[in-house]
């Protein structure tokens, strides 16, 4: 079976983003970018399914300008077989992303689509669920275990109260949580090999979808900052401060 893995180029997770002085957005100029960590876990899961003989082909897709080819090459180096870039300069919202991905799903007919549960920039946690709705597929979100069994996939999900396992008819959508797997590092020979793997560019404008924005970003501001407090020299002082100064314990 084919596995489709949509991925996103985002700010590196170690970088603390800054807001632009005019409050129009965050400042991404000269900031280190990377594959979204949850998307990397999605690629790894798909590659493991291929290594286990469950998947026959892993296709990765990203939506953005030319720079996202860097992340597609990363996915290819991690073991994806081929890549698709849906080219656009616009910063699309999740619904429009899902509509574009639906077209790829219709064309490629994957049995499984694995996505990150959220991107660490917009923190939306929407695309996988929206793609599931648009394709009519079942969804296993926040996955910590994925087991394909015949024409079904069992997905164990990280939920507020613990773990929940659901059984989904294939084809299905899975979104990854942190503990699904630990992604490998791309080895140098694989990075070289990835440069020769197929990468197709498809302009978003050719998809025949109305991609007009559904919301307007009015402003972006820095969060309220916390003042660093004091270092206390003993447990006694701490308890005294919590009781009498902060008044949070009695």
């Amino acid at each position: 079976m084919k596995v489709l893995v949509p991925i996103k180029r985002v700010i590196d997770y170690n970088v603390k983003v800054r807001v632009k002085a005019d409050n129009s957005n965050v400042d991404l100029a000269n900031v280190k970018m990377a594959i979204n960590p949850f998307c990397e876990i999605a690629v790894e899961e798909a590659v493991r399914l291929k290594e286990a003989g469950t998947a026959t082909e892993v296709i990765t897709v990203s939506i953005g300008d030319k720079s996202c080819q860097e992340q597609l090459r990363t996915a290819l180096a991690l073991g994806a077989d081929r890549a698709i870039q849906i080219e656009t300069d616009e910063n699309l919202d999740a619904l429009n992303i899902a509509k574009l991905l639906k077209k790829i799903v219709e064309e490629e007919e994957p049995q499984l689509v694995i996505l990150g549960k959220q991107s660490i920039d917009s923190d939306n946690n929407q695309t996988g669920q929206m793609l599931a709705a648009l394709t009519g597929m079942p969804q296993g979100t926040f996955a910590s275990e994925v087991k394909v069994e015949g024409d079904k996939v069992n997905v164990t999900r990280e939920v507020d109260s613990g773990l929940q396992t659901v059984s989904l008819n294939l084809p299905a959508i899975v979104t990854t949580d942190l503990r699904l797997n630990e992604p490998r590092y791309a080895k140098l020979p694989n990075i070289m090999k990835a440069k020769r793997k197929p990468l197709v560019v498809m302009p978003a404008a050719d998809f025949g979808i109305d991609l007009s924005p559904r919301s307007t970003l009015l402003k972006v501001t820095p969060p309220a900052t916390r003042q660093a407090g004091i270092i206390v020299d003993s447990v006694d002082t701490l308890i005294e401060k919590l009781k009498n100064e902060a008044k949070v314990i009695s």
Binding site: V26, D123, Q126, P138, L178, K219, I230, I239
Partner: protein
């Protein structure tokens, strides 16, 4: 103008977060209805009817909704959506799971994780792990919104709304529930506790979390963890506080052996008072802590428990 609020519950009790989501609905303004979807969930409906400002509770009590599978719940909510301009759910794992599905079925965007309401179409939400705060205006006719409960104060529960039963039951027939493995704890829920004590990599193993539990028992606190502690297998996933785990804002948050990665800070920096206990004086957690103790947690914790 009417607002539909999805009730968070476990078929027997209403989650307190729902009271905060109703507060967000009140900030938007309009007639507020609450949807209780579940199986054998009449007691939840009774509780929901008491939420202040709610005029109607719609109960969809059917086996198809027992485990709140996204495929089934999203069809139910979409069916009801015609009557409402706003649809709200709490940004917990149930709401996060099915709400984007509702939005896509309605062909509208979703505004995730709002922490404030500016007007009926303009909302405030954190992005980049809370390192930036965005103000977003929705251009859609219908607004599908998830609410971060730490941004709102719970409404009171001395109201009396009418309860209406909904007969229809929709089973999409493409997914089934297999099992739940729920963590059982007698301590308060992480999201609802007024005191939270969390451990990180510095705890070294799961057994050492007992040191936190002793203090938690004295303070009536919930016990949480950083991602590092969960990844290392010290404690289960439902204890994780952070950008992609639970978001908490208690009166007192005690971070023990946690360095303070931005992803962890995203889950707790709105706490009223933060205490950090760490042997590394340079740990970033001290930059957000009101009170810090630089020291070995294995010395500090037993002393703290003894003196509380």
């Amino acid at each position: 103008m009417s607002i539909l609020v999805f009730a968070e519950h476990d078929n027997s009790t209403l989650k307190a977060d729902t009271l905060k989501t109703v507060a967000a609905a009140q900030a938007i303004g309009g007639d507020i209805h609450v949807l209780v979807a579940g199986s054998d969930c009449q007691s939840v409906a009774q509780e929901a009817a008491k939420i202040n400002g709610v005029t109607k509770v719609i109960v969809a009590d059917n086996a198809a909704y027992e485990h709140q599978l996204a495929e089934n719940i999203s069809l139910l909510v979409t069916e009801l959506a015609g009557d409402y301009e706003h649809i709200l759910a709490t940004a917990l794992t149930t709401g996060k799971n099915f709400m984007p599905r509702v939005a896509a079925l309605l062909d509208v965007a979703q505004i995730s994780d709002i922490i404030a309401v500016e007007s009926a179409d303009t909302f405030v939400r954190p992005i980049y792990a809370g390192n930036a705060i965005a103000t977003v205006q929705s251009l859609d006719g219908k607004k599908v919104i998830t609410v971060r409960s730490t941004g709102f104060d719970a409404v009171a529960t001395d109201g009396s709304a009418e309860i209406v039963a909904l007969d229809s039951a929709t089973d999409a027939g493409i997914s089934t529930h297999v099992k739940d493995e729920l963590s059982v704890s007698e301590r308060p829920d992480l999201g609802a506790a007024s005191v939270v004590i969390s451990g990180g990599r510095g705890m070294q193993n799961g057994d050492n979390f007992k040191l936190l539990e002793g203090i938690a028992d004295k303070l009536g606190a919930a016990v949480g963890a950083s991602r590092a502690a969960v990844d290392a297998g010290f404690v289960p996933n439902d204890m994780q506080v952070g950008q992609t785990g639970k978001i908490v804002a208690p009166d007192l948050y005690i971070a023990v052996g946690i360095s303070g990665a931005i992803q962890h800070l995203a889950g707790m920096k709105d706490s009223k008072i933060i205490v950090a206990i760490n042997k590394d004086a340079e740990a970033p957690i001290f930059q957000v802590a009101d009170y810090g103790i630089v020291g070995d947690l294995f010395d500090v914790l037993p002393e703290l428990e003894g003196k509380l």
